[in-house]
């Protein structure tokens, strides 16, 4: 599907071109698939509407007169659309007796032929009008009946039970789909956003200068590293407590690359205590590479990046101890943080360090804002590596993000106007299931 050839000079660049080409090919591949799914959707939907009939099935003990409920009506069975198969979707109109309190539950019965033996596949409480039978086997034809039940329990003992069964509905087969039509809007949205980003990346490569506004927290990185050098003290870099399975950690360690290179150039000791082993492995590679780029590969010490503990507060306790004992001049917090954010940042503040923080955890931002000198708010964290590197390709992606924002703003204004004046309910375009 995607042909990959890797150049020696600049593999990233190559990959990118192939990536764009691949995206176009992917579209070519998916478009017919979409069409097929739509057609298949129409073909598969088999609506069977049948009247219901009431009959007595079971009465264990003597039930009072008139306790036999009316049955349900309009039972519709069809393949659960947009799923991975093995699921049938049933909807019905509830029994008129439901609102009178004469129904205790509905029992769902299934058979493989219309007149065959029906067995119970599930039950739902009264008032329910929908059921997913997830025990179906793909390709097998099924028939369904629904029994409206009125029963009395006393002390867990069943006293009597009256059932009214509907007529069977079917046949129906379950199957798996290749495209989730409900997510088509997400598909369009993602394609738009990704193409905008890709377009501006490719435009940036042609060398056109892009304007990027000042981000105070990032402008101060130089100064903060410089200060540590002047004072002859360490720099601490804390990449958060999440593992590599979090994009914030990936963003955090990417920024570490730029900061470590700066520190290496200034000949200042940068220490990276980490909370997760995979992050340790990654951070080691990154710091080592940064020292190579700064032209001082020999200055790199393996102990600069060290593991403490996987535990959130154990990690915070250890970092607090390190801060008060070693008095670093500068502390960076970049990544995903939880409650430990303020424990570390307040200690750092009391120890007089310059602190620069950035996180995508919205709940922790207020604490960093209160205790740190500079804070990168949400999206700024993800823009940081581009901003610090000044690489046109990366800066281009920021411009692409802005296009996404612009589109969102336009949709919000349009949508607000259309919905406020009852013209069109645009918010439905954005619903996701």
């Amino acid at each position: 599907m995607i042909r990959l050839t890797i150049g020696n000079e600049n593999p990233g660049c190559e990959l990118f071109i192939i990536g764009t080409r691949g995206m176009v090919k992917l579209l070519n591949f998916i478009a017919p698939l979409l069409l097929c799914t739509v057609l298949a959707g129409f073909a598969v939907a088999q609506d069977v509407i049948l009247p219901s009939e009431t009959n007595i099935i079971d009465s264990a003990m003597v039930a009072p007169d008139g306790s036999l409920p009316l049955g349900i009506s309009n039972l519709i069975v069809r393949d659960n659309p947009n799923d991975d198969g093995n699921s049938i979707w049933l909807v019905w109109d509830k029994s008129p007796d439901d609102d009178l309190g004469k129904i205790t539950s509905y029992i769902i019965l299934r058979a493989e032929s219309r007149e065959g033996e029906y067995s119970r596949v599930g039950d739902v409480t009264s008032g329910t009008t929908e059921f997913f039978d997830n025990s179906a086997v793909d390709g097998v034809e099924y028939y369904y009946k629904i029994a409206a039940v009125n029963s009395l329990h006393d002390n867990g003992q069943l006293q009597w039970e009256m059932q009214a069964q509907s007529d069977p509905a079917g046949p129906v087969k379950s199957s798996a789909q290749w495209f989730d039509m409900r997510r088509f809007n997400v598909f369009i949205g993602v394609i738009f956003l990704c193409s905008a980003i890709l377009y501006f990346i490719s435009k940036a490569k042609t060398g056109k200068e892009l304007f990027i506004r000042k981000i105070a927290g990032l402008d101060s990185v130089d100064e903060a590293v410089g200060r540590a050098t002047e004072m002859g003290r360490k720099i601490f870099y804390v990449p958060g407590i999440s593992d590599m399975d979090n994009v914030q950690t990936i963003a955090g360690v990417t920024i570490l690359g730029r900061v470590a290179q700066l520190a290496a150039e200034y000949e200042t000791w940068i220490e990276v205590p980490v909370c997760k082993s995979l992050v340790m492995v990654t951070a080691k590679e990154i710091v080592k590479e940064a020292y190579v780029k700064a032209g001082r590969p020999d200055a790199f010490n393996d102990n600069q990046v060290h593991y403490l503990t996987d535990d959130q507060f154990g990690y915070a306790a250890a970092i607090d101890g390190m801060i008060v004992r070693e008095k670093p001049a500068t502390i960076f917090y970049m990544g995903s943080f939880y409650a430990e954010s303020l424990i570390m940042a307040e200690t750092g503040n009391a120890a007089g360090a310059i602190q620069i923080a950035g996180t995508g955890q919205a709940s922790q931002l207020p604490f960093f804002v209160a205790a740190c000198d500079y804070t990168l708010i949400g999206e700024e964290l993800f823009a940081a590596s581009a901003y610090l590197s000044k690489e046109p390709k990366l800066l281009g992606s920021l411009k692409g993000q802005d296009m996404g924002k612009a589109a969102i703003l336009i949709f919000i204004i349009l949508g607000l106007i259309l919905e406020s004046f009852n013209i069109f309910q645009m918010s439905n375009w954005f619903s996701v299931r």
Partner: protein, 215 residues
């Protein structure tokens, strides 16, 4: 008896951590060392039994979930780091993880945080629901709606990177940062309570469970 010793140990460690507030001291240093050792060991053991045995071993050998072998291979490649010569192989599992997470997060965040938040931002400003007659919402609700819509809008404007914050655009961005500041203040103020309750829990442990002084 075991429980009584436990309470004393717990109290000793609790007070050791709190002593840090006064200043760094040997009691805290001891507590910190115990904490690091115990917690590192705790996760080391827990991951072994939960993931390696519980997930991998039982999954493959009891249930026959052979797809788990891929994880084991990636995990072993990761351990190649211990051999300096072929340590670079550990980049493979790492790039596998990074790739998968990037793909997964790309869509998860897009659908949940972009689509759904835009959906809920787009709402009728002057009526409770779409197709209700205009101006049926109370004045208070209309004002709230306008603030929410305006706040979200200007807040987003603040995040624009490639346009200088000048003129009307700059004005909107300025309002945006105000909204964000109010958000931070509110969220901070709301949180104070949570933090206090943690301390309440610990103090209850000391004075209630350990010293038994609370009626």
């Amino acid at each position: 008896m075991e429980q009584q010793i436990g309470l004393w140990v717990g109290a000793f460690l609790t007070m050791g951590i709190i002593s840090f507030l006064y200043k760094d001291n040997p009691w805290y240093k001891l507590t910190e060392a115990i904490f690091v050792g115990i917690s590192a060991g705790y996760w080391f053991v827990a991951l072994f039994w939960d993931n390696i045995v519980g997930k991998f071993w039982i999954g493959v050998f009891d249930r026959g979930d052979y797809y788990l072998l891929v994880g084991a291979v990636l995990g072993l490649l990761m351990l190649m780091r211990l051999a300096p010569k072929i340590g670079w192989i550990s980049r493979w599992p790492l790039s596998f993880v990074v790739g998968a997470i990037s793909g997964f997060y790309l869509l998860n965040y897009f659908s949940s945080n972009v689509m759904l938040q835009v959906q809920s931002t787009i709402m009728p400003l002057f009526s409770p629901q779409f197709n209700d007659p205009l101006f049926t919402s109370s004045a208070g609700n209309i004002i709230s709606n306008l603030f929410i819509a305006g706040g979200t809008f200007t807040g987003l404007v603040y995040f624009f990177f490639s346009k200088e914050h000048k003129g009307a655009f700059g004005g909107a961005a300025k309002i945006g940062i105000w909204v964000i500041m109010i958000t931070f203040g509110a969220s901070f103020g709301y949180t104070v309570m949570s933090r206090m309750s943690l301390l309440i829990g610990r103090m209850y442990f000391i004075f209630g469970e350990w010293l038994n002084l609370i009626g």
